[in-house]
Symmetry: C2
Subunit: 306 residues, 2 copies
């Protein structure tokens, strides 16, 4: 069995070592143009040429959670595209979102700023029941985040394409219930896959339906958000702030207003990092399952886009 | 039934209103020197004179979690001293500690600092299994914090005076197991009551037993910590940082080195605020229970000091 590794911006050696250990009978190598013998591919943002040269691929494993970059390529028709599910990412996402939520709700950013200016300050505590948190996207990551937010006793709302039922979450589904979801949400968390339907979903019309003093946490994709609409609503005062981990162009361009906006916290796409050991173990397990002729979880519906 | 309200640094009117609504048949008023008719007292840092003038007190309710300030007073011998348990404080404590823990573990403070300097940076993710969190004090607050830290899959250790068993927590107890607890802890959280035994428990000898790169979160009392010992261990590099919410003198004195130390995050005693509505409801409930001749939870053991 041959595995081709084709991940941009990724040091190959430790991944190849890990796969050698996990699948000692497989042959795994970094892809070079012209290599076209692979049975399986492990990819991150591969070039079109890679796909064009792999007629025999049975499955393509994407080492991140979002497959939107692959949706732009022509894939070998018989190859299944398989996502990483969790692999240590869900708990990181829960951490990142809870940190941003608590920091905003408890005004810890303001207190730290006061301290930086030498001031011992007092702020009236906010009411938890007046801070409903709405999560868009209820897949593996969204569900884990909902559970964590719930743990801190916030009212939790969820919105997904198809109806779901989650303990402790007031669930909304589809276009029909989107308005009601937004109007009941103060802190909006985006964990949606990027598809033609969800692109620019956080625009002026939708963000202005959030409860006054709304807050945006984007940990999905930069293209879910209309950058200038967010800035306008922050500047008008309807929104109180935003924590953004993902951007239309990454790294965030040098002149982008997000870098210095006083109400925006920027982090460099670090909310849920691919953990090498966990990811290798998950992919190796799925390859073994496929080789045994059994179905695997996480196969992308190419029509739906995730 | 008469209730005396004697809380320093607290605006009395909204508390009195709340008690009037919760206990319409009681007479409640702010204490003035000379008033000595109270059956119950609601206090925060009252003067000795208040206690001396209340021969008929059945119970004293402290509106914070820590009763160390009251331990320094002579209390009327027949009065029970009753603590607030939770009253909305436990979830706040869980929030505050998880925020500080995640911020340190995920290096979000460093990323935000990089962004402030215009840098899109990369840091190697830390391993969760190498970041055991040790919680000193396993009362209502400590238990809630342990549960929250557990939720983010950190290894959790707990230390208490008397042996406890908590799900998901490796529990240590007493002097005999203190050394083993410290040597297995990377992030140390202090939630102990302040007693003669726990005063200055975070000193050079004990803090230097933490795993290298240790981190201190103090949300109990300033006197649990020897300030200069913490600074020495931060400056030597054995400890990586600290988040401190409580101090020997509050507000933290203007010239104190904690204000500007680059590895210390200071907040102005805001980790778990007394929430008025929740606290009034809890005290009113306890007064009704006592009046019915039944026992209440949270009675302080004056010998033990908490």
């Amino acid at each position: 069995m041959r595995i081709a590794f084709c991940c941009s911006h990724t040091k190959a050696a430790p991944w190849l070592d890990g796969f050698h250990r996990a699948l000692p009978h497989a042959s795994i190598a970094e892809w070079m143009p012209g290599d076209s013998q692979a049975d399986y591919a492990v990819v991150w943002s591969p070039p079109q040429q890679f796909m064009d040269e792999q007629p025999g691929l049975k499955a393509i494993f994407n080492i991140g959670a979002g497959v939107d970059a692959l949706m732009k390529l022509r894939l070998p028709p018989q190859a299944r595209l398989v996502r990483i599910e969790d692999g240590g990412m869900a708990v990181q996402m829960a951490e990142y979102v809870c940190h941003a939520l608590i920091r905003h709700f408890r005004e810890l950013d303001c207190y730290e700023d006061d301290v930086r200016h030498g001031a011992w300050s007092y702020r009236k505590p906010r009411r938890r029941d007046e801070c409903p948190v709405g999560i868009m996207g209820l897949g593996v990551l969204g569900e884990r985040v909902a559970q964590a937010v719930n743990h801190f006793d916030f009212p939790v709302l969820g919105w997904s394409r198809t109806p779901k039922e989650l303990p402790g979450v007031r669930c909304f589904a589809g276009e029909a219930q989107f308005d009601a979801f937004l109007r009941a949400t103060r802190v909006l968390v985006c964990l949606l896959p990027l598809t033609p339907e969800t692109r620019e979903i956080m625009n002026a019309a939708n963000l202005s339906r959030l409860l006054p003093g709304g807050y945006v946490i984007n940990v999905a994709r930069g293209a879910h958000l209309v950058d200038e609409d967010l800035i306008a609503l922050l500047d008008s005062g309807h929104l109180a702030g935003a924590t953004l981990d993902v951007f239309r162009t990454e790294p965030l361009p040098e002149k982008h207003p997000f870098w210095t906006h006083p109400k925006i916290t920027v982090t460099p796409h670090t909310s849920a990092r691919t953990l090498r050991d966990e990811t290798i173990a998950q992919i190796a397990g799925k390859i073994r399952t496929l080789e045994a002729g059994e179905p695997v979880e996480g196969v992308v519906d190419l029509q739906r886009g995730y």
